[in-house]
């Protein structure tokens, strides 16, 4: 089987806007799943509500499209009911950080054996561009017309603090690195969070002077700070540039995991 065999060809072209990064994330995930050698019978994709959560609909396996924010709760149930299944969760930033925040930290704390892929487009894209907990300070959305005044949620750091076994963050531009990170997450026993910064030219870029897909990608590329470079800057006592987000593998450890086959 190849990665293309996991796609539901009959549903294409997909519903995403032109230039949306979610399709790239699906490609990377399927390539990583294919690399693992999993079959359709023992793989489940679970999602909540949002643009990102439409992803399992384009994949030819069993999937659960659940209530808003509760994808991780359903996934915990699936994994504990049948530990032989490989569980992958697609969520967005609004799904994971805002409505499902409590489920998220407790899934990290319990360290349930699954991989959560968070497509963080920094806005509620599907409902019309409302500000989410990850909307950067100063960014304009329909609920923050004078610029967001709140500090943002750093989901990857939150997962590290809550106890996930593997946490990585990449952007939808770094496809090869993203695929490797997802593959590592799938291999790691215990909870794994891969946060993907994706572009949303329709609802985020349009209001923040990043209307073109290329501008949005360039913004992601130039604002990504590699974790090794961040550590070097801290060692040398230099300031970390404002407005950058850290990319790379943030943690990989072996805390006791739940739902792992003995």
């Amino acid at each position: 089987m190849s990665a293309a065999d996991w796609q539901r060809i009959d549903r294409l072209p997909n519903i995403y806007c032109a230039g949306c990064g979610n399709g790239s994330v699906i490609n990377c995930t399927l390539a990583a799943v294919e690399e693992m050698g999993w079959t359709r019978e023992n793989t489940v994709f679970i999602s909540g509500i949002g643009c990102s959560s439409r992803a399992p609909g384009y994949i030819l396996t069993d999937s659960l499209h659940t209530t808003h924010g509760r994808a991780l709760a359903f996934a915990t149930g699936v994994k504990l009911a049948n530990p032989a299944l490989n569980v992958v969760v697609f969520t967005g930033d609004g799904d994971l950080a805002a409505i499902g925040g409590n489920h998220f930290i407790h899934a990290c704390r319990r360290n349930v054996d699954m991989t959560a892929i968070c497509m963080n487009n920094q806005i509620y894209g599907m409902t019309g561009g409302q500000g989410s907990p990850t909307t950067p300070r100063g960014a304009i959305s329909t609920t923050t017309p004078y610029g967001s005044a709140e500090p943002v949620f750093d989901l990857a750091e939150l997962a590290v603090a809550a106890g996930a076994n593997h946490v990585a963050r990449w952007t939808s531009y770094h496809v090869k690195e993203l695929m490797a990170a997802i593959a590592t997450g799938l291999q790691t026993p215990g909870f794994s969070l891969v946060e993907v910064m994706t572009q949303c030219p329709t609802n985020y870029g349009r209001r923040n002077r990043l209307r073109q897909v290329s501008d949005m990608i360039e913004h992601l590329r130039t604002h990504a700070l590699l974790v090794q470079k961040r550590d070097r800057l801290i060692r040398e006592g230099k300031p970390i540039p404002e407005g950058m987000f850290v990319v790379g593998e943030l943690v990989r450890r072996h805390r006791p995991a739940m739902g792992v086959r003995a």
Binding site: N14, Y16, A18, G19, N22, S24, Y173, V175, V213, S214
Partner: protein, 90 residues
């Protein structure tokens, strides 16, 4: 192998133009039937996957296919074999 863009899936986001290391994809000029401006291929025989995929037995670069959000880029077999000139740039 031959590089093809599936016009029924492409939405004209031009992400492939950004990532191709050989500059094979170019922004298109004309709308197709669906009103999408699909990228043009500039001498696609330069693509490393077209030339060397069979020799190595695996997908080589593949950046355009991986980043394409609409799964519109693929390589297909050429049958019958069509000889063509290959330009290698140094």
């Amino acid at each position: 192998m031959r590089l093809v863009i599936d016009e029924s899936r492409c939405k004209g986001c031009n992400l492939c133009v950004l990532v191709c290391p050989y500059g094979i994809f170019r922004e298109g000029r004309e709308q197709n039937q669906r009103g999408v401006i699909v990228p043009e291929l500039d001498r696609p025989e330069r693509c490393t996957n077209c030339r060397l995929q069979h020799l190595y037995g695996r997908l080589l670069c593949g950046m355009c296919q991986m980043i394409c959000p609409d799964q519109a880029i693929a390589w297909e077999e050429e049958r019958p074999y069509e000889p063509h000139r290959v330009e290698v740039e140094f």
